[in-house]
Structure formats: structure tokens, C-alpha cells
């Protein structure tokens, strides 16, 4: 792990409709090659925090610097930066009218990152790696939930992003399919991908996370290595949270 900061978040706030304060001044740094796992009770703002990182939610205040560029600046073309920030959603959001291969290649080809041939070569390599090489011609509704999520991950990887954002990637899966998705994520982590993962999978956080961030009430309450957070929690709210789920 190097110490280069990939994403710097300063004083991030997000209000919905002026009354609901989802984020109340969050500051954090994501370093290159780091796997950061964000945990917390529902409504703690962890998903909003993640979705602000690529401006799917527009922050109400604060600054997000990605690869040295302040992407909250209205003059910045966010679309170019999003190409380098892969995102995986809880509900997969595969394009139902396209085959697996088309799902993976439509963005790199349309955005002129790659020729069709090059994109398909990469897509097939990625499918091979997640064990779905034989499903290239299938449509999303022919896949199981676990397969869908693995495809969603490699679809994002097809853009060759510098960071991958995971928004509760296993929460919508049947329990027996959680493992196959987590395995792909672990493999990705081993290969040095920078990852920010919002999840309830504490096993994953412990095993793969370089750093665990605990959020509650729109704030980061505590953060540290998995060992610090899980074995020696300091904040009472973290202790209470861990007591409930572990």
C-alpha cells in the first residue's frame, strides 16, 4: 500500500429537502490501493457518503478531491471522472435489454475508451476471471442474483477504473450467493484495486479491509484497522452496534 491519496473528502454535508441531514461534515481520505469498508446502522449516511464520492448525490456542502481535481467544482466535467470510478449497486442495475457482453462493452465503446474488439477481448478476460465466460451471450434475467452482481462488477471493471465503489453489494442476494460475490471482491482487493465498500458483511470487513470506518448520524464516529474497530472499539455507539450484529 502506498500513501498517495486518491480521494480526499472535506466537510461533506448532504441535506435532503432541508430537513433530513444525511451527512453532517464528513472528512476522510481514501489512499491508493486501500480497501476501506464503511459500516454503520441503516440511516447512518454510509450509502449517501459513497454515492457522493462520484456525485450520484450532489453534496450540499464540502469538497471532494479525486486524483487532485476538485470534482464538486461545477466547472468540472464529472462524466470524465466517473469513468475512472466504477460503481456496484445493491440491486445490480444491469441493462436488461442487453446481453452480458453488451452490458460490459457499451460504455467503453460508446465513450471511445476502446475499440469494440479491444473491449470485447477485455470483457471476455474479465468474464473468465469471475467464472462466467459461458454467459457472455445471456441476458440479465437469465442469471442468478450472484451471477448478476459478478457481471455488474466486471461491467464496472471494463472501464478500467482507478477506484471501485460498492454500495451494499450483497444485501439483495440470497445467502448462498453472497460468497461468490465476496470472493470476486476479495480477488479484486488482492490485485491492488482501491475499494470503498459499504456493507454489512463484517467477515469481509475483518478479512479484507485495510481500514474500517464506522458511521452514525451522518458522521464518522470511529475508524481504524479492522482489529482496532472490532476488537478494541472505543465509542459506545460502535460498541452497541457491534454488540447487536456480532
Amino acid at each position: 500500500m502506498t500513501t498517495d491519496v486518491l480521494i480526499r473528502v472535506e466537510g461533506l454535508e448532504k441535506h435532503f429537502g432541508g430537513r433530513i441531514h444525511a451527512l453532517n461534515g464528513v472528512s476522510a481520505e481514501i489512499r491508493k490501493g486501500e480497501v476501506v469498508v464503511v459500516i454503520g446502522p441503516s440511516g447512518s449516511g454510509k450509502s449517501t457518503f459513497l454515492r457522493c464520492l462520484n456525485l450520484l448525490e450532489m453534496p450540499s456542502a464540502g469538497k471532494i478531491t479525486f486524483e487532485g481535481v476538485d470534482i464538486t467544482d461545477p466547472k468540472v466535467n464529472i462524466n470524465l471522472h466517473r469513468q475512472k470510478m466504477g460503481m456496484v449497486f445493491q440491486h445490480f442495475n444491469l441493462f436488461p435489454n442487453m446481453t452480458v457482453l453488451k452490458n460490459m462493452t457499451v460504455a467503453p465503446v460508446t465513450l471511445h475508451k476502446k475499440s469494440r474488439e479491444a473491449a470485447e477481448v477485455l470483457a471476455k478476460q474479465l468474464l473468465e476471471r469471475v467464472g462466467l465466460a459461458d454467459r457472455a451471450g445471456a441476458y440479465p434475467n437469465q442469471l442468478s442474483g450472484g451471477q448478476k452482481q459478478r457481471i455488474a462488477i466486471v461491467r464496472a471493471l471494463c472501464m478500467e477504473p482507478d477506484v471501485m465503489l460498492f454500495d451494499e453489494p450483497t444485501s439483495a442476494l440470497d445467502p448462498e450467493m453472497v460468497g461468490e460475490v465476496l470472493d470476486v471482491m476479495k480477488q479484486l482487493a488482492r490485485e491492488g484495486m482501491t475499494m470503498v465498500v459499504v456493507t454489512h458483511e463484517m467477515g469481509f470487513a475483518r478479512e479484507v479491509g485495510d481500514r474500517v470506518i464506522f458511521m452514525d448520524g451522518g458522521r464518522i464516529i470511529e475508524q481504524g484497522t479492522p482489529e482496532q474497530v472490532f476488537e478494541h472499539p472505543e465509542n459506545p455507539r460502535l460498541k452497541e452496534f457491534l454488540g447487536k450484529i456480532l
Partner: protein, 244 residues
């Protein structure tokens, strides 16, 4: 005996209403005009509908993410304009709209087919707009987010991700709108536009015999509608069979 005279009467009526003085031509030219008006107004309606649906759904979709910029205010203005258009065009009878266009606004023109196409097209546009807007809003927001997260801008997301799904969803509704439009154009005669119904009516006015011409007109509409309904059914099955 009675049967024979009934049959003789039918033959006489048929001859009188369609054969004599080539009166069948009122039916054929009328049918041609009806089809032309329907087709032209559908095309106009789709163009208007797409534009309005685009403005309305863009305004709604970008509601919370967009900063209150000048562009947003312009969009808001057009959005309000579209709402007024839809309210007025759906809130008044199409016959009245037709007569206003033919007999008031373009009273100087005698191109009935073009004016009727304009009138029905403007009216249909309001309905098509709501069909398409409904189709866009029915697409799961996750599809937009997935598109945007890959780096597509708003228009690219629309074009490559959302609209192909919308077209598939709204095609049957659009074709039903086409069928409704075909029947709706039968009121064109109120503005002296020579459509199919007007043709039948013209014959009846000359022969003082309403039975034959109106039954003929009704049968032609019915045949057309049944054929188009059959086509819609086929298209729907096709869309369902490769529904992925």
C-alpha cells in the same frame, strides 16, 4: 316472394349508392384521405410527444441534483409551457380544436387534409407525450444511475440505456393510440374535410339512403381496426418473447 323483393331492393340500393355516377369514388377518396390524415397526424403527434416528454421527464429527473442555474430556469419555463399545452389539448374536444384550426385560424386555406392532419397531430401529441413520459418514468432509476456511474452524460444515458427500454414498453400503447386516432379522424367532416365518413355522408345526401353508405363506412373502419389490432397483438407477443 318477400325474400326476392328484399334481395332486389338490396341490389337496387347497392347500385344506387355505389355504382351509379361512380359514387364509390366518394368512399375510396375518403378512405385515402382518412389514412393520409391518420398517418400524418401520427407522425406529427410522435414528434411533438417525444419533444414534450423529453422536456417534462428531463425536468423531473434532474429535480434534486441540478443546481438552480439559468439553464434550469429555461427548462422550467418550457416544462410549464408543455404542461399548459397538455392541459389545453386534452381538456377540450378534438372536434372543437379541429374547427378552430380549420375555420378560425386557417380559415383562408382550403387544404382540408393538411389542416385536419395538423389538428389531429397537435391533439395526438398531447396524448403521445404522456404515454412516452410514463414510459420514461417507469424505467427504474437504477438504470439511470448505472448509466451515469459508467461515465455516460444525461443524453448518452437516455439514448443508450433508457430509450431502447422505453420504446419497447410504449410501442403497444403508441399503436393503440394510432388505432384510436384512425377512428377519431371521422369527425373531420365537421370542418368539411373529405374523409371516409364524410364520403359516406355525401353519398347518402345524394341518394337519400343512409343504410348502405354508413354500413359500408362502418365495415371499412372495422376491418382496418381489426387488422391493426391483430398487428399490435403480434408486436406485443414479439416484444414479450424476447423480453430479457
Amino acid at each position: 316472394m318477400a325474400l326476392q323483393s328484399w334481395w332486389e331492393n338490396i341490389k337496387f340500393q347497392f347500385d344506387l349508392n355505389f355504382v351509379q355516377r361512380n359514387r364509390w369514388r366518394f368512399i375510396t377518396t375518403g378512405l385515402g384521405n382518412t389514412l393520409l390524415i391518420t398517418l400524418l397526424s401520427l407522425m406529427l403527434g410522435v414528434v411533438i410527444g417525444v419533444v414534450i416528454a423529453g422536456v417534462r421527464s428531463t425536468y423531473d429527473k434532474t429535480a434534486d441534483s441540478a443546481r438552480p442555474t439559468f439553464g434550469r430556469k429555461v427548462l422550467g419555463f418550457f416544462n410549464a409551457l408543455c404542461k399548459v399545452y397538455i392541459t389545453v389539448l386534452r381538456g377540450t374536444p378534438v372536434v372543437v380544436q379541429l374547427m378552430i384550426i380549420c375555420l378560425v385560424i386557417f380559415a383562408w386555406s382550403d387544404n382540408g387534409v393538411a389542416l385536419a392532419s395538423l389538428a389531429f397531430g397537435l391533439n395526438s401529441g398531447a396524448y403521445v407525450a404522456e404515454i412516452i413520459r410514463g414510459g420514461i418514468m417507469a424505467i427504474d432509476n437504477g438504470q439511470f444511475e448505472a448509466g451515469r456511474s459508467l461515465g455516460f452524460n444525461y443524453l448518452q444515458t437516455m439514448r443508450h440505456v433508457v430509450l431502447p427500454q422505453v420504446i419497447k414498453n410504449v410501442l403497444p400503447s403508441l399503436m393503440n393510440e394510432f388505432i384510436a386516432l384512425l377512428k377519431e379522424t371521422s369527425v373531420a367532416g365537421y370542418a368539411a374535410v373529405r374523409d371516409l365518413t364524410y364520403g359516406g355522408n355525401t353519398i347518402a345526401g345524394q341518394t337519400y339512403s343512409y343504410f348502405m353508405p354508413l354500413i359500408a363506412v362502418a365495415l371499412i373502419y372495422l376491418t382496418l381496426v381489426m387488422f391493426l389490432t391483430w398487428v399490435v397483438g403480434r408486436v406485443e407477443r414479439r416484444l414479450r418473447s424476447n423480453d430479457h
